[in-house]
């Protein structure tokens, strides 16, 4: 039934388009000077036929489900409904729904079967009513648009206004989705902070979130200080940058300034393949190759290396970040005008001096922006650290030790046995909130830096 609804909208839009196009062309053929070219008259009809009907369908679909549910519930026998909570009513309703779809477990009670039959009938009525109303609305739009066709009608302005509105709508969707995500994080975090004091979380140096979520479980008393977790994230991020920064920067400089065109044509795509490797694969690489290699190297040198080190996880993450930094650097270097390069070379500077003293400073805004974006990627990266980093939170900055990260903790808190009114689970949202704030801060700094330098250099 739903596809038929949309088919009607599409057909009405197409019909409206053709009708108006013909009408406008006839006017034009008769020698009238049209204000807008015929295409705009046709587009105007298309929007008028399709948009209101579409909006109507969306609203109808959003509202019809709850209305039908309420109708079915109100028709139930009084003794079933007496004393039922909202949650129980919901459960009952979904039971009736699956019954209506023919998924019955055992023999249903007669009143349930009756309710299911009523639900089916109501849904059929709803479908036909929707179809009728949509046809009516689309037809009204089509007819109205057809009557508007005239030489002086400003169809272009109308169409532009409608398209403008659509673009505003799309950007609002993006903005409100972001606000919604932040708001849900915030609400859940508040529930966490109602159970664990805010400052204990912010400044605590002990992270042992495995508290019992049922009476009979044996577990620790729990401690929710996020500092060791944050420190772990920072250690891994620093390790990742130590790997990614020099390699990314120098490979970009080499490819942009020194490599022959043929080498560049081969090397650049290969470098970009790194960006396409799924993070799970990097995780495998870290666990199966990097970590054992580090451990063996440690044994050979007589250094104690733990099995899942920050170095292995961070180093692998650094490899993941190389294409990020190198492509930003490459873009920034390519964006420096050729005239600056020529100016420097004409003064007798070598290519190296030109890169170091003219091109690189001029490209710094773009490079810094790329690096800071890489930092926020590293902070938020999950899969590699879930596979390669440890689970125990420690206050250590030794990269050969095992550390855990914010993202790893969120994952471990949310998998397995969870209850959403328990501090253990809610802590994940608080960590997510803090992670969001940290990356937001980094991104703001990145934008600031880029803007400040840009003012200086242009």
């Amino acid at each position: 039934m739903l596809w038929l609804t949309f088919l009607i909208i599409v057909a009405a839009a197409a019909l409206a388009y053709v009708l108006n196009l013909r009408a406008a062309r006839r006017l034009w053929a008769e020698g009238a000077r049209l204000h807008s070219i015929t295409t705009f008259h046709a587009l105007y009809a298309l929007f008028l036929a399709a948009l209101p009907a579409f909006v109507f369908v969306v609203l109808w679909l959003a509202l019809s489900g709850p209305v039908i549910g309420a109708l079915v519930l109100s028709g139930l026998p009084d003794e079933v409904r007496a004393g039922a909570t909202a949650a129980q009513e919901n459960l009952l309703l979904s039971e009736i729904r699956s019954l209506a779809r023919g998924q019955a477990f055992g023999e249903p009670e007669p009143w349930k079967a009756a309710a299911a039959a009523r639900l089916t009938a109501l849904e059929a009525t709803e479908g036909w009513a929707r179809l009728a109303l949509v046809s009516l609305i689309a037809a009204a739009g089509l007819i109205y648009a057809r009557t508007r066709v005239s030489a002086s009608f400003r169809a272009r302005q109308r169409v532009e206004r409608i398209i403008n509105g659509l673009m505003v709508f799309c950007s609002l969707v993006a903005i409100f989705t972001t606000i919604g995500i932040v708001a849900s994080l915030f609400v859940e975090s508040m529930r966490f902070f109602a159970r664990v004091p805010f400052f204990e979380f912010l400044f605590g140096t002990n992270w042992e979130p495995q508290i019992p979520i049922r009476e009979d479980q044996v577990a620790g008393a729990g401690a929710f200080g996020w500092l060791p977790v944050l420190l772990g994230t920072m250690v891994i991020t620093v390790v990742a940058l130590v790997v990614a920064l020099p390699i990314g920067l120098f490979s970009a400089i080499y490819l942009n300034e020194f490599a022959s065109p043929r080498l560049r044509a081969v090397a650049k795509p290969v470098l970009e393949i790194l960006a396409g490797v799924p993070t799970v694969v990097y995780g495998f690489f870290a666990v199966l190759v990097v970590a054992p290699a580090l451990r063996q190297a440690g044994q050979a040198l007589g250094v104690d290396v733990s099995p899942n080190t920050a170095l292995a996880a961070g180093g692998t993450m650094g490899i993941m970040l190389i294409p990020f930094i190198s492509s930003f650097t490459d873009d920034a270097l390519s964006a420096v005008p050729r005239s600056l390069r020529d100016g420097s070379l004409a003064l007798g500077a070598t290519r190296g001096e030109t890169v170091a003293k003219v091109l690189f400073p001029a490209a710094i805004p773009g490079i810094v922006g790329g690096v800071l974006l890489a930092v926020s990627r590293a902070i938020g990266e999950t899969m590699i650290v879930v596979m390669a980093a440890g689970l125990i939170a420690r206050m250590t900055i030794n990269p050969l030790d095992s550390v855990t990260t914010v993202t790893v903790q969120i994952v471990t808190l949310l998998i397995g046995d969870t209850a959403f009114d328990n501090p253990k689970t809610l802590a994940a949202f608080a960590l997510g909130m803090m992670l969001f704030l940290v990356t937001l801060g980094v991104n703001i700094v990145a934008l600031r830096v880029v803007r400040k330098y840009r003012e200086l250099y242009d």
Binding site: S344, L347, G348, T350
Partner: protein, 260 residues
């Protein structure tokens, strides 16, 4: 003729049978010319005639273009500048260049001028460097306008000031030859007049070679003029001679506006 102008007329650059290819395109054909010291030589001609290409041969800037091939013999003070033992980096310190569009580096005015002396190690200490910068800015006729804000970015100046800054920057490495590739084409008439006046000053110390689209400018500023057409050097001689009594019919057509 005063004292500083002695040496005018000595041959500074001599080119013989210069050919330039960009890939398959034969951009410059059999150019032979002797350019005198302490004079302004103007290269004129329609767009794409090879005048800028020839200019860029003189400091080997064409080396930086992929697929560009230069043949023939170009001598600076009798030395072959395309000889294998010549380092283009050193050559470019002797043959300075000013571009069509002012291209100050995104650095302070001071650092712009100090750039060349620093990379060539011309100053032993900061005070010597200060001296070079001041002298160059004075010779670039821009000292008085910028002396109070040497730390300001070079890009904050106006177009004409930027171009004079670029000239000062080119002078700072004490070159012997100054190449100018349409130095006024991006400037307004007042700034153009200032630059032309400056070029007239500069010829006391340098061999100045400029490419220009404006025949009036060539007539006003230069002592020698070379007319290029379709990759060939058509006519070369005294500026007055070229503009009043050209010997080649193509030169005459160009000057009177029939081709170009």
């Amino acid at each position: 003729m005063n004292q500083q102008e002695t040496g005018a007329g000595e041959i500074k650059i001599s080119a013989r049978d210069v050919q330039v290819h960009y890939g398959d395109n034969h951009a410059l054909v059999d150019v032979s010319v002797d350019i005198s010291d302490k004079m302004v030589t103007a290269f004129i001609g329609p767009s794409g005639c090879g005048k800028s290409t020839f200019l860029r041969c003189l400091n080997r800037m064409n080396d930086t273009i992929d697929g560009c091939r230069v043949e023939g013999d170009i001598r600076l003070d009798g030395e072959d500048i395309y000889a294998p033992e010549v380092d283009p980096v050193h050559l470019r310190a002797r043959v300075g260049m000013v571009f069509q569009k002012p291209n100050p580096f995104p650095k302070s005015i001071y650092d712009n001028v100090a750039y060349g002396p620093r990379i060539h190690g011309l100053a032993k200490n900061r005070s010597e460097l200060d001296e070079i910068v001041e002298k160059s800015l004075r010779r670039g006729a821009i000292w008085d306008e910028v002396k109070d804000r040497l730390d300001a970015p070079g890009t904050s100046l106006s177009g004409g000031q930027q171009q004079r800054l670029c000239i000062a920057r080119a002078i700072a490495t004490s070159p012997e030859v100054l190449l100018m590739d349409e130095p006024c084409s991006a400037l307004d008439p007042i700034a153009t007049a200032q630059i032309e006046e400056l070029i007239d000053e500069l010829r006391r110390q340098f061999c100045v070679i400029m490419v220009t689209h404006s025949m009036q400018q060539a007539a006003r500023v230069s002592q020698r003029t070379a007319f290029f057409h379709l990759g060939q050097l058509v006519e070369y001689g005294e500026t007055g001679q070229i503009f009043t009594n050209p010997s080649d019919p193509r030169t005459e057509s160009y000057i009177t506006g029939r081709i170009g």
